[in-house]
Symmetry: C2
Subunit: 333 residues, 2 copies
Amino acid sequence: MRSPYLLFLGDAALVGQDKMAAGILQWRPEHCVAQYRLPGCRADLGLPDMTPAEAVAAGAGTMIVGVVNVGGFIPDSWVAPIIGALEAGLDVAAGMHQRLADLPAVADTAKRHGRTIYDVRQPTRAFAPGNGEKRSGKRLLTVGTDCAVGKKYTALAIEKSMRARGIDADFRATGQTGLLIAGRGVAIDAVVADFISGAAEWLSPAAAADHWDIIEGQGSLAHPAYAGVTLGLMHGSQPDALVICHEPTRTRMLGLNYDVPELGALTEMCLAAARLTNPAVRAVGVSLNTAKMAESDVAPLVRDIEERTGLPCCDPIRHGADRIVDALLRTSW
Amino acid sequence: MRSPYLLFLGDAALVGQDKMAAGILQWRPEHCVAQYRLPGCRADLGLPDMTPAEAVAAGAGTMIVGVVNVGGFIPDSWVAPIIGALEAGLDVAAGMHQRLADLPAVADTAKRHGRTIYDVRQPTRAFAPGNGEKRSGKRLLTVGTDCAVGKKYTALAIEKSMRARGIDADFRATGQTGLLIAGRGVAIDAVVADFISGAAEWLSPAAAADHWDIIEGQGSLAHPAYAGVTLGLMHGSQPDALVICHEPTRTRMLGLNYDVPELGALTEMCLAAARLTNPAVRAVGVSLNTAKMAESDVAPLVRDIEERTGLPCCDPIRHGADRIVDALLRTSW
């Protein structure tokens, strides 16, 4: 994909809808030149606002549709801006369930102008069902009390901390944003249901005994829509270590009439489920997304959670993930 | 689909590989005219063996590929027989992940001869993610200790028993065989992972308060490859009642290095998971597949399981499902 990127935020009106663009900006800031917002958009990444033509003049090569919505469809209101970007000279990448390539007006425009469209969520290969056989190497999986609580950030921060110590570690992307950051992986929620575990087994193959795969979790075992994806990913990943991700100010799950589960209960639920394919699995840390908390409230909460759970706790954005990696390295595996 | 059917058993060499054909024969015997076996086939449904030409002469309208394999692909050895069936004048139906329509030689032959091919496992509509909202009406879901333990048979037998009493009940098919028996439903394992629960919510919509949907379960919560499908189906189904299906002579899961879970442990695991979307869920019966047991061993085992679990127990093929339905009707819902 031709960088740098123009990040399209559409008409994102809800908290977290810009999480794909925000993730790319956080982990690949050197590739992000501007944002492109439609009227009514409430999201703001702090990048310069540009139209596609202005972004091309500023050197942009690709517009990334950086907004997510439930169901992964492309609203009618995005079609004209996407066509405009192609006409202005940009390639366009999206991570929706619905394919850009399936929109005739978009596909025709791309063809006419010699532009490329990337539907990064679509699996590009076939998978086999899982077999549950033990693989060599070590695996860490991030799990969460809800969607959008920091599972990807946590995995990326742990990879960064491990690599800084010379540990052979690989972030394994399982969602569209992670894929765009890492340049590889599989959008596990877009795989046919029968092959969730098989795709997860493929994603983190047998490796050297001291190699760590740091696998981006998806959804939550307590989520009424996505727990099946979470469980299949967990079984295929056969994690040795779990890190529990949590957004402390959230009491209800995003967009649902369901309470966010209690941290301890969710941890036990995850350990019980993960034991099926790895009886030795352990919880090794709690990762908080404290973006909405006052600075002064964070340290007391972290201390409280460490006391209650006996696990190291940190916010990977505020603190990095060294505290969790330190504890993990003191453990014998 | 034009009946009656020629049931294609291919070169099925493993126990249970003919389960699709066997299920159609069990529940729709009036539609099954013959079986078609390749050299090396060990399955035998007890139907007359016929070639496609002989089956056409006997009145057959459609050949159903009645064999299943792990991964749902179409082996090379089936392609010539499928083409031969089309050339002989039969339509062909299959329930694999791989589509007949994607095999150029098969698609071309069908077109040339004006025959129809049915890929019944492919979803024919888009689904939304689940929302977990409570729906009116009652729902029963069959769950199992492994694949191929009788979840579909149990659901069909319960529907039959309920309807015989004048209860408004509908079997809800979630697999390719159930689809061919019921003529409707959704092959839940072929749905994109993000939409498993949403597809299950669509499958059993809000209904009258005394209406029962009897939902065919898939896989097992204890299955390392398919538990994600099982859990998503369970959450979307929000069952009021679970029936636990079990094959008592099986100690290892089919094709895996995993033990079959203990009946009580599996029941607790299922109840705990199902409570997320229906806190009032109850286990209402145990359904055994005793096909491999001596007749004289069945009654003592049934008594033993009833004593241990406190639930009514029966084999839906040997006994029907009246015993479970009787107990269910004595319960207030």
